[in-house]
Amino acid sequence: MLRPEMAGSNDNGAGGNKREVQRVRTIIVAGQSSDRTREVLRALSGFTNVIWPTSLESALAQTRSQDAGCLVIADDLREEPIDEFLQEARELQRNLPIFVITDPDDVAEAVSAMRHGATAVIEIPPSYAALCEEVSRALQ
């Protein structure tokens, strides 16, 4: 079942300085309702302001916002091919870090994503550590 709206707004006072830095910028997650998307949301649960918009239109609207910190394309999208969505997002925000999660060894998909505006492509598995590092850097 698709779960819209806030996915990880655990602004519970834990995290000290990290919360200070990350308070305002939004991490937008796009991806169909799937185990992969849920895993990504779980991996990012240490960050505040993680959102998983209900639709790609809504994700693009969030991407356009000045508060956008980065966009994570976690999995296939229901409405359109990833590359097309990526290109639209890139046209909206030239400097926004955009990360794409892919299956391991899918070099062709990774290259295509980079050509369409991804900042980096991260293969999953083995772990989400690289994603968290990229997101942390993007929010600094």
Partner: protein, 205 residues
């Protein structure tokens, strides 16, 4: 000046790959030159030569990725298509982040490479046309007097002649004369065209 013909430079340490790519490109009517190493290419490359590069990632001595880095340092904008038999995602991402045009894993179909080469040659021609255009604008800018340049900067900020006259402490008539000279020297048919020219040579944000 007439453009030099486009050339595809194949840099690969494997003799068989170089030969087969040369034949393939020749069969498609594309002029190709081959080099067995990055060093060989770098020592003979002439930046005025248009075309694109087909570059092996793994080579003894300087690797393809190191050569890409060197080309970036030298300001070479020629599109680079990487080919590799042992590619992985981090390698592909690194190459693309540093401006690679494409990254292709061996084995690939002949047509896949030819399609990419054709696109890369189009990209190179566009890049060079853009550079020629901005070079011409810069030459025209250099022909302006200091006062004409001041007038140009102010009018392209959207200021009317009267405001420019006020800013520069001269008469409106003087501004009109300078402005006419600017339009003539810049070969601009309208203020909008002048603004577009200035945007074309403005540094990227």
């Amino acid at each position: 000046m007439k453009d030099l013909p486009q050339t595809v430079f194949v840099v690969d340490d494997d003799d068989a790959v170089r030969d087969s790519l040369r034949m393939l490109l020749k069969s498609a009517g594309v002029h190709a030159e081959t080099c067995a190493s990055a060093q060989e290419f770098l020592s003979s490359y002439d930046a005025s030569q248009p075309g694109c590069l087909v570059l092996d990632v793994r080579m003894p001595g300087m690797s393809g990725l190191e050569m890409q880095h060197e080309l970036n340092l030298r300001g070479v904008t020629m599109p680079v298509i990487f080919i590799t038999g042992h590619g992985d995602i981090p390698m592909a991402v690194e190459a693309m982040q540093h401006g690679a045009f494409d990254f292709l894993q061996k084995p690939f179909r002949d047509q896949e490479l030819l399609d990419r080469v054709q696109r890369a040659l189009v990209r190179d021609a566009e890049n060079r046309a853009r550079l020629r255009h901005t070079d011409r604008i810069r030459e025209r800018l250099a022909s302006l007097s200091p006062r004409e340049r001041e007038v140009l900067d102010l009018v392209t900020q959207g200021k009317a002649n009267k405001m420019v006259a006020g800013d520069l402490g001269v008469s409106q008539r003087t501004v009109e004369i300078h402005r006419a000279h600017v339009m003539q020297k810049m070969e601009a048919g309208s203020l909008a065209e002048l603004v577009r020219m200035m945007m074309a040579v403005a540094p990227s944000p």
